[in-house]
Amino acid sequence: MTPILEAQGLRKTFGGNVAVADVSFALARGGSLGIVGESGSGKTTTARMLVGLEVPTQGRILFDGEPLERARSTARRRERARGIQMVFQDPYSSLDRRQTIASCLDEVLRVHFPMSAEQRAARVSELADLVGLDDRMLRGRPGALSGGQRQRVAIARALAAEPEVLILDEAVAALDVSIQAQVLNLLADIRERTSISYILISHDLAVVRQITEEAVVMYQGAVVESGPTAKILDEPQHEYTRRLRASVPGPGWVPGKALASGGAA
């Protein structure tokens, strides 16, 4: 079966700086792929190329087997928007503070679908239900919501265009651990119900393990390891993956000891 999204030898340079050197991966239809790496490893630039915010210097992106061209016209960008959507890291700045949640979702529907006002209103409450927002929250502005609730709004907004691929760029990194778990469960639920595919970009191995089946590890702009998530995390082959895994505090981790043995942190 053709992968829903495929990256082939993606490269992006800004002036003389290489942000992404060589990235290839394939996302199965209905699958979930993790992109793991530290800050500066090129994860976010890769995501920006996937949604069309950046144009790759080299390589190409295939959506459902068709190469994605640079979207110049609004019509082309809308077409792409219905294929691939994105949820951002910061739930505080990714929503317009002046817009009510309902009108934020409504705006996306208006852009993409020829629906009547009543149809849109019905779809807005459906989307709100899907991510667990109530009517009172729909009428409010982002300022009245918590970080976790805002991220639910961002997910609902991304789902409004009914995309086939959802890119989650550190989408739970800014949330408390307990809220993180709620949002991750929600994402897993949504995938079960809608057969959407995820690309989860994260530096957090626990998060990647929880909701992805496949993963690629990026280091200095290139993919250094790829395969089933469990295998990569349990039996890392590449030196960098091993170090990444070792840097996660596990049970029995004592802060004082780490400081003493590691010298100055």
Partner: protein, 273 residues
């Protein structure tokens, strides 16, 4: 809407007072036909330089015209002139700034250089040049001043727009496939409005002083139309004769309005931050 909390501090209350003064004078200008005790242009040479009296509460000028009536009628052009300047300059400035910030590239470069060049011209000088070309009058002066204020508004709004459009919510809208014009109109500009409003209010004060100066030089509002700037000017000879009232009252009103607008602009800037 940005929520504006009712001010409880002393500084906040001066803002409310300033707003009250501005609204009161605007109302006076609007209701001039009913408030003014006399025809502002009725000349009566027998009554020249009258002191305060029941018929002429603030006295009369060199031609025996009632000063109170002239001040009341003068509120119209004195307030409407700067208002037009501000509205025109703001609309132009915001449109130019947002377009160049959003588009970037060569458009931004060209616009920024034009703004720099325009900055080099003092507003009043530009107005005098334009008046020399098109003839004196309020309209010409207003348009010329508005153009000279565009750079100030455009530069401020452009840098704010650059900051705002880097926010993820704008990126999210772009990814959604919302068109650039719609993003600017529905999201970018509304989010810049508090800043724009504060800047426009401050600009009103400057515009008022400049317009009064232009009228004082005889290039703006033409006598005998009652206008505070014109009154400051036409009251000059009377000062030498020992009757400073005309220039004094008109000048005082200009000072009060400018001070009120400056206070108001400062407060708006703080409240909406």
């Amino acid at each position: 809407m940005t929520a504006i909390a009712l001010p409880r501090t002393a500084a906040g209350r001066t803002g409310i007072v300033a707003l009250g003064v501005v609204l009161l004078l605007a109302l006076v200008g609007l209701l001039a036909p009913w408030l003014a005790p006399h025809d502002p242009n009725e000349i009566n040479l027998m009554d020249a330089f009258q002191g305060n009296s029941a018929t002429h509460p603030l006295g009369t000028d060199a031609s025996g015209r009632d000063l109170l009536s002239r001040l009341i009628w003068g509120a119209r052009s004195s307030l409407a002139g700067p208002l037009l300047v501000v509205v025109l300059a703001t609309v132009l400035g915001v449109a130019i700034a947002v377009a160049s910030a959003w588009r970037g590239g060569w458009l931004d470069a060209v616009v920024s250089r034009c703004v720099d060049v325009l900055f080099a011209f003092p507003g009043v000088l530009l107005a005098i040049l334009v008046v020399a070309l098109f003839g004196a009058g309020l309209t010409v002066a207003v348009v010329a001043l508005a153009i000279s204020y565009v750079p100030y508004i455009a530069r401020l709004v452009r840098s704010a727009a650059l900051r705002e459009q880097a926010q993820p919510y704008i990126t999210a809208l772009t990814i959604q496939g919302v068109g650039g014009f719609a993003i600017c109109r529905r999201h970018l500009i509304p989010n810049l409005l508090p800043l724009i409003l504060a800047q426009s209010t401050l600009t009103f004060g400057y515009a008022m002083v400049d317009l009064a100066a232009i009228s004082f030089l005889g290039l703006g509002v033409q006598p005998p139309t009652a206008d505070w700037g014109v009154m400051v000017s036409s009251g000059q000879p009377s000062i030498l004769q020992g009757f400073p009232q005309e220039s004094l009252y008109a000048g005082a009103l200009i000072v009060v309005v400018v001070a009120a607008f400056n206070l108001l602009g400062d407060r708006l800037d703080e409240w909406t931050r």
